[in-house]
Symmetry: C2
Subunit: 318 residues, 2 copies
């Protein structure tokens, strides 16, 4: 199995879905006060009722994975730019990355900046690129942490954070800032593939318990540019990425709510992660799109969580 030039697997597949707003869904979510519109596309406020479901999903994942004894670590929604550049995310997905800029000029430039804002002129040349970038997937801060030699048997991490991908959309299934819970595995190819296989099965059972109709399928990431299509085909052929999809805004184009990604030795090479035998480590990650899973539950069981089927409520709020 060889790796395509830059097939870094993203963790929730964002593209390939028809991009017209699902009016019915959006209107129902707003009418029930579950989401709040802001003036900016892809940025949503969330009510108590919505967050209650997100919290329940996070707790359920914790309960289901407790026996795995993953290393628990939490990161803020930004990552150092040096680490981000090393990850080569920009090779495959330059259009999705959010790079933080800040002002560091003298008072005169500050006055100019304020004048430009006042007159509605562009002020972007007055600020400078910083050393931080928005995290594109919850697993990215883990790989720099693993640099060096892993213990025998490899490593397993549990992370969860706000992630950013710049693809503004009117659909609540595609927020520019959204939450992702992830399990990240590093070790030999055999170890990480076994981890991923086990998770594909496990995830299907989890959605069965939630009575949400989910299907798993081979998938590909939204690679940028002319070579993107070829990379996507290679990724699919090599079965590097699987997704669990649920009909949320369309029956024919279901939305990915989880992804199962095998990175081969991409991150191992980028960050110098080695197995206990000294070989370059392989990695895989399993990502839960938390807002998408909540939306799948609302879509499937209705917009009032207190009225969801008893078995589903018992699973989410034991």
């Amino acid at each position: 199995m060889t790796e395509p030039a830059s097939a870094v697997a993203l963790d929730v597949m964002p593209s390939g879905i028809v991009d017209k707003p699902a009016r019915g869904l959006v209107e129902a979510l707003l009418a029930h006060g579950l989401l709040l519109k802001t003036s900016t596309s892809g940025v949503w406020g969330r009510s108590r009722g919505f967050e209650r479901v997100i919290e329940a999903i996070e707790r359920l994942i914790s309960d289901e994975t407790r026996e795995d004894q993953a290393s628990y670590v939490r990161f803020p929604p930004v990552i150092g730019r040096a680490d981000f550049e090393r990850s080569e995310f920009l090779k495959s997905f330059p259009h999705l990355a959010g790079v933080v800029h800040a002002f560091d000029g003298p008072p005169e430039k500050h006055q100019e900046l304020l004048g430009r804002i006042e007159s509605g002129a562009d002020w972007s040349d007055l600020i400078r690129m910083t050393d931080v970038v928005l995290v594109p997937a919850a697993c990215y801060p883990v790989y720099p942490l693993l640099a060096g030699e892993l213990a025998q048997g490899g490593a397993l991490y549990d992370v969860s954070s706000h992630c950013f991908r710049y693809e503004p959309s009117a659909q609540p299934t595609r927020m520019v800032s959204f939450r992702m819970r992830e399990q990240v595995r590093a070790g030999t190819a055999v170890e990480v593939l076994a981890f991923r296989e086990r998770w594909i099965e496990r995830a299907s059972k989890l959605f069965e318990k939630l009575a949400v109709p989910a299907l798993s399928a081979a998938a590909s990431d939204p690679f940028f540019g002319r070579g993107g299509r070829l990379l996507a085909v290679a990724q699919r052929e090599q079965r590097l990425k699987f997704e669990l999809v649920v009909p949320i805004i369309s029956e024919t184009e279901p939305t990915p709510v989880m992804s199962f990604n095998y990175h081969q030795d991409h991150f191992g090479r980028a960050f110098g992660i080695r197995t206990s035998d000294g070989a370059t480590a392989h990695t895989a990650c399993v990502g839960f799109g938390l807002e998408r899973i909540a939306l799948a539950l609302f879509k499937t069981h209705g917009f009032i969580s207190e009225e969801w089927p008893k078995e589903v409520r018992a699973k989410l709020w034991p």
Copy 2:
């Protein structure tokens, strides 16, 4: 009471503290595995033991404020740039804002970008300012939401989010990305001042229950530029900002862990918020610096939360 030109009160006072790393504190936090260093200044990973304390603080705030019946809403760590510009944050604190840039060029420019990264050259001119900015304080997304006429008695919101301020530091008391819980009040001047006064008292009692030595004092924000010092003096004289401070890295220069801010009609004017009488609304906010409160607890009671005084543990984990 008149308002200084652009005295928008920040919610946790970041400056005025001596900026040398508190080696002892950092080393103890790392040795106990509570925080994890990353390659980037001001960006920290957090362990289960640290997050357990953050979760307990959040729950304690929820319990203590339940009777207030605040409107609960949660926002992502980004806000629309149009709303951000209207807030006039950039007038007072241009140096702290994080503005998100993204790539939207053709494949040729993408190749150029990758080449520049490869050779270590600056690639910032190849990406463009987007319509989103990192949230500088948890309350900022609330004001656009309040545009229009408030109900009689005004409004009270409860928010919590990751916030961003670009002031990289080796001190864990000054992260570039940190969490802030806030109570936000809008109404008449009398209503919002009563809210703030009540909170200053209430907060002191809360810290007493946690056996953390906290003092409240008039304070000022780190205004930018030549006029900044004058704005800070005016803000202090008009008692627009109070803080609760705790010795964390220094006995003589205690760290603000909460702030109590009266914005007069600044946000009311900026976002067209009116009271039920049709007057421009006043606003105030009370912010909890969650990481700083956790650090204050570790500093005061030791680095093993299981060994904290029984009364403190009973309060945090009832």
